[in-house]
């Protein structure tokens, strides 16, 4: 039980919240970067390896492209269907392999990235599908290579949609990051759990909810701003 009237209450509260916020931002930030690095190419491959896609033949083989497509679809669907709390525990051996430990904020980045990558890949896929096929065709007509088409046509054209997709992805990473207390990942979720659930401090709970809300709100505003600027520049 925490006593709000104790002289150290507010300074302790602030310290706990600062540490928690810092951990959350650290986990979410790094997981987001990993998610972009892996999820973007994954989304491109998901669309590209389809029939009539940009990579509908891999090393000259249509069958190989179709197989790659099926495997990726399966992996993405699998990744999205496993509940996070289970995924987090299930990937502990992998986390250990990558980070060296499965405890702490850094270790929590692994499951957070793993859950966000398929999600973001789908977002990328959706944005890419919105790009007019005529643009790819025009790029082919000027002799562009597949890599050039991805870099100079598809990604820039799909960027506003991807930015919005990224905002949704961050929100879901923040959401999941509240659960990493289970592997001692810390963060705001852990603060809420330990201080409010276990020690009945409503003030902690309200503060955590407010901070998370502000973070999500700020990110959404930033994303909307960029998406708008990107598509404004186009009309």
């Amino acid at each position: 039980m925490i006593d709000p009237n104790s002289p150290d209450f507010w300074s302790e509260l602030i310290e706990v919240l600062l540490v928690g916020t810092g951990q959350t931002l650290y986990m979410v930030g790094v997981a987001l970067i990993v998610t972009i690095i892996v999820g973007l190419p994954l989304g491109i491959l998901l669309v590209g390896t389809e029939r009539n896609g940009l990579f509908s033949s891999v090393f000259g083989s249509r069958a190989l492209a179709a197989t790659v497509n099926r495997v990726l679809e399966l992996v993405v669907n699998f990744g999205r269907s496993v509940p996070f709390i289970i995924l987090m525990i299930a990937v502990i051996p992998f986390t250990r392999l990558v980070v060296g430990t499965f405890i702490g904020s850094t270790a929590a980045i692994v499951p957070l990235s793993l859950v966000a990558i398929p999600f973001f890949a789908r977002m990328v896929e959706i944005s890419l599908r919105e790009v007019d096929a005529g643009l790819t065709e025009a790029a082919h007509s000027i002799g562009a290579s597949r890599w050039q088409i991805v870099r100079k046509v598809l990604v820039p054209e799909a960027l506003p949609g991807m930015v919005l997709g990224l905002a949704t992805t961050v929100t879901s990473i923040i959401n999941f990051s509240a659960m990493v207390g289970i592997v001692a990942g810390g963060g705001l979720g852990d603060v809420a759990f330990r201080y409010s659930y276990q020690r009945y401090s409503n003030i902690h709970m309200i503060a955590v909810i407010l901070i998370i809300f502000l973070i999500v709100q700020a990110l959404a505003a930033i994303a909307a701003h960029f998406a708008r600027r990107l598509s404004h520049a186009r009309t």
Binding site: D132, G134, H140, I142, G143, Q148, K152, E157, R234, T235
Partner: protein, 331 residues
Amino acid sequence: MISLRHVSKTFGSGPNAVPALADVDLDVAEGEIFGVVGQSGAGKSTLIRTVNLLELPDSGTVTVAGRELTRATDSQLRIARQGIGMVFQHFNLLTSRSVTGNVELALEVVGVEARERRRRALEILDLVGLGSKAEARPGQLSGGQKQRVGIARALATRPSILLSDEATSALDPETTRSILELLGRINRELGLTVLLITHEMDVIKSVCRSAALLEAGSIVESGPLADLIRAPGSKLARDLFPLGDVPPHHGNTVIDITFSGGVADRPVVSQLARAHGLDVSILGAIVETVAGNQAGRTRLELPGPPAANAAPIADLRGQGLLVELAGGDAR
């Protein structure tokens, strides 16, 4: 310059198979503007897209500028495409780039260095009359201006061939005219070979030297317009100069006279009336400039059945005119 041999393409398979091109042969000579005309669904788009292999034919060969593209490797094909510009009905401009950026894209692909890229893009934008819009976004342009950007992009790599896939079909008549003028100017000034497809006869009439008529995936007629006009029974000539349905003619003779080149300015009808003492009625007439020459068709009604008019008809034919009995009556 462009040569298609026995090109066939079918979409889908089994009972859903849709044949788009059936054993098409096509030859486009260097420096000419060649138009392929046909109704929608005739296979025009598929045809033009096989030239730069955006559409891979099921069989047949495509040879462009002496290189057989149907045998080229991927990288050879990309290099060949850099020498074949293409413009599209819906322009296909990148919204993520400015007008200049869109033109520069073609040069980036070829690997031209940044400063040179910009210089050439601006130069080409000037050529197509868009110098003042270089920094604009495609979304801020009118349809005609967008198509000029499309043309500039297609010309950026200094290709020897320009393919035009219904480039004016999304434009109003006024803009269509200005874009066609631009294509004609490019053809003359840069010596570009132009292959265009269209469903509008006006386009063929105003810029093409040669044309082909595509029906249900097959080329029905093909050749220089001047020859096609003189060819008896030419569908293209009939479509170029539509005289409408033949009215009921009660035992009289209705003839369609097609004239072109030197005979266009002779007083044919009055001569006919005077020489044969006939009361000639003009049922319809259309005269236009085709491939730089006056050409047209006149529909006349002569009194009496065709047999009675053998002499005046022979006379007209003797003057080098193409005379056809209209209405399908005894020939």
